[in-house]
C-alpha cells in the first residue's frame, strides 16, 4: 500500500501536523548533535542482551535508535510549517520458548534497558501459550563491530533553514509565473542513526539519510481545475540531489524532462506551470486499447504495487490477510518453476545495495548483510522477499535481509526491498522505445493508483499524458487511467530502454502492518513499453 495520503496537513503548529514522523520537536541545530558514543551504545546493548539471556531468551537483538526528521512546507509565497523532530530509545526483541517477544523504552538508563529486555522475555513467554510452531531463524554469522553510512555528499540537515525556505519559495514562484494559481511544496529530510546488536555477535552502527522534495501545483480554468505534481523522486541521498545537473536530465522528444540522480526542481516547477496551461486545454482521451510507454517516474509505482508487494513472503503466507491482504503469487506457482510472471524480457530483481536508493543499507534490522537477488528471471517467478524467520519456508538457508522497523519503539518485520526492472542490454533511448508505437500513450509521473488485495487487478493514472501516433508524440491529453491484471500486463511488456535511461523512483511512506508502520523503498527501471493495454477515461459529469 502506498501511503502518500498518510500525510494529512492542517494548519500551522504541531496541532495541525499529522506526519508519519514520531518524536519530539527540536531546533535545527540539535539535528547536528553528535550521535551517542558507539562504545556506550555497545554497553547498553550488552546489558539488554545479557538481561534477556538471563531470563531464558535463546536469541535476542537490541536496536538503539536516534531518528531525526526535518519538515519544511510552503504554500504559494508563505511558509506553512517548519518542524524538526527527534526520537531516541531502545527496542529489544527476543525468542523465548520458541516465541517472539518485544518491548521498547525511551528511558536508556542501564536499569531501564535491562527491565525492557526482561519485559520482552515475559511477553514471549506469555504468547508462547498460543504458539503452535517454534520460530526457526536462518543462521547469521556475527560480524563484530562494523559501521555503514549512506554515501551522501551534502548532509541536508546542515543546510540552513533559510536556504531551504528560499528554494521552496522560488519553486512556488516559478510555477506561478508560468501558469499555476496555487502550489504547495515540501522538503522532508530523514536521518536514522541506528545501532544493532544481537546474541549472534554483531554490533552494527549505521547512519542513514533520505530526502524528498514534492510539490503539487494547481491551475484554475474556465471549466474547472487541473493539478500537476513534481516529477522528482524521494532518494537515499543528501542535498546534492537538488543540484539539478544537466547530465542527469533525460529529454524525451515532445514530452517533459525526466530526472535521474539529481533533480532540477526549479525547472520542473516552471514546466509544471506551462503544462498546467496545456492540461486545461488538452483533449480528453478516447477510451480503448493502447500501447503504453511508461516513464520510470511513473512505472516505479506500478512495479511497487504489482511486483514488490505480491512478492513479500509474509503476504503470501497470510500474515497480512487482515490488512494489506495476501498475494496471487502463491508458493505453488513459484514451486512449479514455470510461472510466467512476465514476458521473457522481464527481469525483476531485489537489491538493498543500490546507491541513491531509499532501501540502501549495509545491514537490515536483524543484522543481515544486504544483497541483490532475482525475483523474476526471463519472465519466470524465481524467488520472494523474506526475513530470517521466514526463509526456511522456501527451503532456503540465507535470509534476504528484508527486516525493517520504522523506529526503535516498533518491532521489526518483513518489508519490501528495492525492487527494480533490469534495462535492455542494448542501450535504447526513450525515443527509441516510442518510435515503433503506432497508437499509444506516453505516461510520466505518478498519479492515482489502486490495486486489489491479492494484486491481480490494478488501475493507475499519471501526471502527464501524451498521445503517440505513428512513432511520435503528438499532443498532451487528459483523463487517462489504465486498467490491467498483473500477469497479463507484465506478459505484454515488449520493449525496454537501456541503462542510460534507467532511473530510480521511490515511495517515502509505504504503509504495512497493524499497528501500521511506514518504510521507504526505491524502484529502478528504464522507459518501458506495454502493448494493448485497456485505457479508460476518468472524466465524469456530476
Amino acid at each position: 500500500m502506498e501511503r502518500r495520503d498518510f500525510i494529512k496537513l492542517g494548519g500551522i503548529g504541531m496541532g495541525g501536523l499529522m506526519l508519519p514522523m514520531s518524536g519530539i520537536a527540536i531546533s535545527a541545530e540539535q539535528l547536528l548533535d553528535k550521535p551517542m558514543d558507539v562504545a556506550y551504545k555497545k554497553k547498553l546493548a550488552d546489558i539488554a542482551l545479557n538481561a534477556a539471556k538471563a531470563k531464558g531468551a535463546t536469541y535476542a537483538d537490541a536496536r538503539i535508535g536516534r531518528y531525526l526528521n526535518q519538515f519544511v512546507r510552503t504554500n504559494e509565497n508563505r511558509v506553512d510549517n517548519i518542524v524538526n523532530t527527534e526520537s531516541a530509545g531502545i527496542g529489544v526483541r527476543v525468542i523465548a520458548n520458541g516465541t517472539w517477544g518485544f518491548a521498547s523504552t525511551s528511558n536508556m538508563t542501564p536499569d531501564s534497558v535491562a527491565k525492557t529486555a526482561e519485559r520482552a522475555v515475559a511477553v514471549a513467554i506469555a504468547n508462547s501459550k498460543f504458539q503452535t510452531t517454534p520460530v526457526q531463524l536462518a543462521p547469521v554469522k556475527g560480524v563484530g563491530e562494523v559501521s555503514w553510512q549512506t554515501p551522501i555528499k551534502k548532509n541536508a540537515m546542515e543546510i540552513p533553514i533559510k536556504d531551504k525556505v528560499d528554494l521552496l519559495l522560488a519553486v512556488n514562484a516559478a510555477a506561478m509565473e508560468n501558469g499555476a494559481n496555487f502550489i504547495n511544496s515540501t522538503l522532508f529530510l530523514v536521518n536514522e542513526q541506528k545501532y544493532f546488536a544481537s546474541t549472534d555477535g554483531s554490533y552494527i552502527d549505521q547512519d542513514i539519510h533520505r530526502l524528498w522534495a514534492p510539490f503539487t501545483a494547481t491551475a484554475i480554468g474556465e471549466k474547472g481545475f487541473k493539478q500537476r505534481s513534481g516529477l522528482g523522486n524521494p532518494v537515499g541521498m543528501g542535498f546534492e540531489y537538488l543540484d539539478g545537473l544537466e547530465k542527469d536530465k533525460i529529454h524525451v522528444t515532445g514530452a517533459s524532462v525526466g530526472y535521474g540522480n539529481s533533480y532540477d526542481i526549479l525547472e520542473d516547477a516552471k514546466l509544471a506551470g506551462q503544462q498546467l496551461k496545456a492540461k486545461l486545454k488538452a483533449k480528453s482521451v478516447e477510451p480503448g486499447k493502447y500501447d503504453l510507454v511508461l516513464d520510470p517516474a511513473h512505472l516505479m509505482l506500478t512495479i511497487h504495487e504489482s511486483v514488490g508487494h505480491p512478492l513479500e513472503l509474509d503476504r503470501v503466507l497470510g500474515y497480512e490477510a487482515n490488512y494489506a491482504g495476501t498475494s496471487f503469487a502463491t508458493l505453488d506457482k513459484w514451486q512449479s518453476g514455470k510461472f510466467q510472471y512476465g514476458s521473457d524480457i522481464v527481469n525483476l530483481f531485489a537489491d538493498k545495495t543500490q546507491d541513491y536508493s531509499l532501501g540502501n543499507v549495509g545491514y537490515d534490522d536483524e543484522g543481515v548483510k544486504t544483497k541483490e537477488w532475482d525475483l523474476v528471471k526471463n519472465g519466470i517467478l524465481v524467488n520472494y522477499q523474506a526475513t530470517r524467520d521466514q526463509v526456511h519456508m522456501l527451503g532456503q538457508k540465507e535470509s534476504h535481509g528484508c527486516s525493517y522497523s520504522q523506529s526503535w519503539k516498533d518491532v521489526q518485520f518483513q518489508r519490501m526491498s528495492n525492487v527494480s526492472l533490469k534495462p535492455n542490454e542494448k542501450d535504447l533511448s526513450a525515443d527509441d522505445v516510442i518510435k515503433d508505437v503506432e497508437k499509444g500513450i506516453y505516461i510520466a509521473g505518478r498519479g492515482s493508483f489502486s490495486i486489489d488485495q491479492q494484486r491481480y487487478n490494478f488501475q493507475f493514472g499519471g501526471q502527464l499524458f501524451y498521445e503517440i501516433k505513428d512513432g511520435k508524440i503528438v499532443d498532451q491529453i487528459e483523463d487517462v487511467a489504465y486498467q490491467s491484471n498483473t500477469q497479463e500486463f507484465w506478459n505484454n511488456c515488449t520493449q525496454l530502454a537501456g541503462k542510460s535511461d534507467y532511473r530510480l523512483g521511490g515511495s517515502f511512506f509505504d504503509g504495512k502492518g497493524q499497528p501500521s508502520q511506514v518504510s521507504a523503498v526505491s524502484h529502478g527501471c528504464p522507459t518501458t513499453r506495454f502493448n494493448n493495454i485497456n485505457v479508460i477515461n476518468t472524466a465524469r459529469n456530476v
Binding site: 496541532g15 520537536a25 527540536i26 504458539q131 497470510g318 500474515y319 490477510a321 495476501t326 492515482s448 487487478n457
Partner: protein, 447 residues
Amino acid sequence: MTILSEQTAKTLLTKVLKYSKADSIECNLDGNIGGNIRYARNTVSTAGEESDVVLAVQSTFGKRTGTATINEFDDASLEKVVRRSEELAKLAPENEEFMPIFGKQEYEKSNTYFESTAKVTPEDRAQAAQNSIAPSKKDKLVAAGFLEETTRFSAIMNSAGLFAYNTSTNVDFSVTIRTEDGKGSGWVTRNYSDVKLLDTAKASNIAIHKAKSSVDVKEMEPGKYTVILEPAASNTLIGNMMRSFAQRSADEGRSFLSYKAKEGEDATTAPKNKLGMKMFDERVHIYSDPQHPIAPSAPFGGDGYPRKRMDWVKDGVIANMPNTPYWAKKTGMPYIPQNGTFIMAGGNESLEDMIKNTRRGVLVTRLWYIRALDPQTLLYTGLTRDGTFYIENGKIKYPIKNFRFNESPIVMLNNIEALGESVRIEGDMVPPMKIRDFTFSSLSDAV
C-alpha cells in the same frame, strides 16, 4: 504519568505558562495508554502495550510563532521547552495569516470516556483473539485479526485564559477469516468508545459466515448495478467526501464545492462556493455532534475552540463548510471548526429489508484501496472485498467475483433508493445504503 487528571494537568500547565516571556503562549498536553494484539494463521503474531505523554508549547511574538514539544516534565525540562519554542518563534518568518489565540471558552459536557475500555487487560485481548481463532479452527478456516484499545487525555491552556480538558477511550477490532483453500473470505470491523458494546465472538461469527458463503463465486459483467453498501463500504466513500469539505478551497475554485458562474452570470458577484445550494437527494442529512451517544467526540478541537452540533448537509443542501479563523475573518463568515467525525442520518429499513426489496442487485461488504481520480468530481476508484454477493428477487443468490468501481459519492448521494439504520464505523455513524446505477468498471480475481 500517562493519563493526568484535570487538576494535575491544570497545575502542570499553569507552571509552564509562568515561564513564558512571549506575547502569547498556548500549550497542548496529550497522553495515551493502550494495548494491542495481532493474530494470523490462527495464532498470535504480535502483542504489545504503548504509552506516551507529550507537551507541545506554541509561543508567539507579533506574527511569528514557534512550536516545541517535550516528553519530560521536571521543572528544568518545562522551562527548556518554553525557551525553545520562543527561540523558534524569533527565527520563524512572519505569518501573514496569523490569528490570535482564543480566550476563555465554555464547553458542553463530554461523554467520550468509558472506564470499561480503560481497564482492558492483556488477557481480555488474548480472549478476543481466541474468540476468532477457536471457531475458525473448528470450521477449518483461518483467522487473521487485530484488536487495539486506547485511553487518551487532552488538555489545553493559553495565556488568554483558555483551559480545556477531556478524556476519551476507543477500541478497534477487525478480523478477516478465510477458507483454507483461499477461495472464501469474510471480514468484519467494530469500533466503539465503550468496550462493553464489543462482542468479538458475535462479530467473528459474521466473518466466518461470510467466508463460508463466499466460495464458488460466479462472474458477472461489469456495468451499472443497484448496490447495497454495508456501512463499512458506505463510510469509505462518504468519509472521503467529508474530508474534502472546506470553505477556502471551495472559494479558491479548487474543490467539488466551488461554484462556477454560469453563462450570462456576472462572475464577480456570483457566489464562490455552493453554500445553500442543493447537491444531493433530499434525504441526505450529514452533521457532526460531539454529544452523540454512540459516536461522541471531544467538545473542543486542538485550538481549544468549542465544537458543537453542526449540519454540513441538510435536506440535500450544503448547510455549512468548515473554515479556519483566518479564512472566516477574510470572508466575513463565522469560524466553523472541522469536526473529526460525522453522522449521516439513516432511514428505517434494515439491511435484511433492503435485500428483500431488491429485485436485482449487488451486496457489498467493504471497499478497498480507494483513490481519488478527480478532486473536482470526487470520482474515486477502488475494489469490493471480503464478501460480494448477487441479490435476485429479494434473496442473496450466490457470491460473485469482486469488482473494481469508478464512482463519485456526489453521484451516489443523488441515486439513493433506501437508507438503513446508521451504525458506528471508525468513529462515524453511517447507514447501509441502497444506490442505483453504481458503476463497476472491471472484474478482479482477488479473494
